[in-house]
C-alpha cells in the first residue's frame, strides 16, 4: 500500500469540524423551531459559526496537499 500520512491527517482533521457543524445547525434548527421569527437574527450567526468551524477542516485539506 502506498500513499501519504497527510491524507490520514486530513481525515482526522475533519472529525472536530464535523461535530462542530452538526452542533451549530442543531442549535440553529432548535432556535427556529422555538421561535420562527428569529430567523433573520439566527441565520448570519449560524452560517458564521459554520464557516469558522469548517475552515479548520479545510486547513487540513490544504495541508494534506502541501505536506507531500
Amino acid at each position: 500500500m502506498t500513499g501519504t500520512m497527510a491524507i490520514v491527517g486530513f481525515g482526522l482533521s475533519t472529525i472536530g469540524p464535523g461535530i462542530a457543524t452538526g452542533l451549530i445547525f442543531a442549535a440553529y434548527i432548535n432556535g427556529l423551531a422555538r421561535q420562527p421569527e428569529a430567523r433573520g437574527l439566527l441565520q448570519p450567526i449560524a452560517f458564521l459559526g459554520f464557516a469558522l468551524a469548517e475552515a479548520l477542516a479545510l486547513f487540513g485539506l490544504v495541508l494534506a496537499f502541501v505536506l507531500k
Partner: protein, 260 residues
C-alpha cells in the same frame, strides 16, 4: 489549455493539485492563463449585466431587472444593514462588488465549457482578503484614531489585568494575521476542494468507461454522482460568496463599534 491527456490507458491517475496549473494562453507569459482570462471575463459579465438591468429601470421590473435588484437588495439589506447598522450605506458598493465578483467567479466552476472556479487559485482570494483587511483597519483608524484603536486591540477594556498576558497576543494575532488568512484560505480551499471533487467523479467515470464490461456498467453512476455534486457545488459557491461578504461586513461592524 489542459494538462491532462485524455488517454487513461496506463492506470487511473487521481486528480491532484497539478490539475489546477494551466498552460499560458499567449506565448510563455505565466501571467495570462485561464484564471486570469476568467477574471477579466467576469468583470465584463458583471458590468454588462448590471448596467443592462439598471439602465432602463421600470416600476414593474422585467425578469432580469428583478434578478439584478434582488441581488443588490440582498447585499444591502441582509449583509449591509442588518450587520453594519446605521452607517451601512457607505460600505454597500464595496460589499456589493465583492459579493458579485466572488459569486460569478465561483459559479464559473460549474458552467459548462468554462468549468473552473477562479477562486481555486489562492492568489485571487488573497488579493480580495487584503482589500477587506485594508478597509476594516482604515475604517477603525478613521473612526477611533490610531492610538485608541491600537489600545483597544491590545488592552480590551473591562478585563482583569492578569488576563492581558494571554489576551493581548491572541487579539493581536486575530486582527493582524488570522482574519485575512482564514478569509482567503476558506474561500480558496472550498473552491479547490469542490473542483477536485468534481474531477474525481468525472475522471473516474471516464476511466471506468474505458475499462472492461463491468467497469462500463458502473461508469454512469460516477457521472450521475458528478452531476449531483455539480448542484451541490452551486450551493457551496453561493454560500462562500455570502460568507466572505458577511465576514467582511462583520469586521467592518466591529471596527465601527465603540466597545470591542
Amino acid at each position: 489549455m489542459f494538462n491532462r491527456s485524455g488517454a487513461a490507458a496506463e492506470g487511473f491517475v487521481p486528480p491532484s493539485a497539478e490539475d489546477f496549473i494551466f498552460r499560458p494562453i499567449f506565448g510563455d507569459s505565466l501571467f495570462f492563463t485561464k484564471p486570469a482570462l476568467l477574471v477579466f471575463f467576469s468583470v465584463i459579465v458583471i458590468s454588462v449585466f448590471f448596467i443592462a438591468t439598471s439602465r432602463k429601470a421600470l416600476v414593474v421590473p422585467s425578469r432580469a431587472q428583478f434578478l439584478g435588484e434582488s441581488i443588490y437588495g440582498f447585499v444591502r439589506e441582509v449583509i449591509g444593514r442588518d450587520v453594519i447598522g446605521p452607517d451601512f450605506m457607505k460600505f454597500v458598493p464595496f460589499l456589493f462588488s465583492l459579493f458579485t465578483f466572488i459569486l460569478v467567479n465561483n459559479i464559473f466552476g460549474i458552467i459548462p465549457i468554462i468549468q473552473f472556479p477562479t477562486m481555486s487559485h489562492i492568489g485571487f482570494p488573497i488579493a480580495l482578503a487584503l482589500f477587506t483587511y485594508g478597509v476594516y483597519h482604515a475604517v477603525a483608524i478613521k473612526h477611533h484614531g490610531f492610538f485608541k484603536y491600537v489600545k483597544d486591540i491590545c488592552f480590551m477594556p473591562g478585563i482583569p489585568k492578569p488576563i492581558y498576558i494571554i489576551l493581548t497576543p491572541v487579539e493581536l494575532l486575530t486582527f493582524l494575521v488570522t482574519r485575512p488568512m482564514t478569509l482567503s484560505i476558506r474561500l480558496f480551499a472550498n473552491m479547490f476542494a469542490g473542483h477536485l471533487l468534481l474531477l474525481v467523479f468525472t475522471i473516474g467515470g471516464e476511466h471506468l468507461l474505458a475499462g472492461g464490461i463491468f467497469m462500463k456498467v458502473l461508469s454512469p453512476f460516477s457521472f450521475v454522482m458528478a452531476i449531483g455534486l455539480t448542484f451541490f457545488e452551486f450551493g457551496i459557491q453561493c454560500l462562500q460568496a455570502y460568507i466572505f461578504t458577511l465576514l467582511t461586513a462583520l469586521y467592518i461592524a466591529g471596527a465601527l463599534s465603540d466597545a470591542h
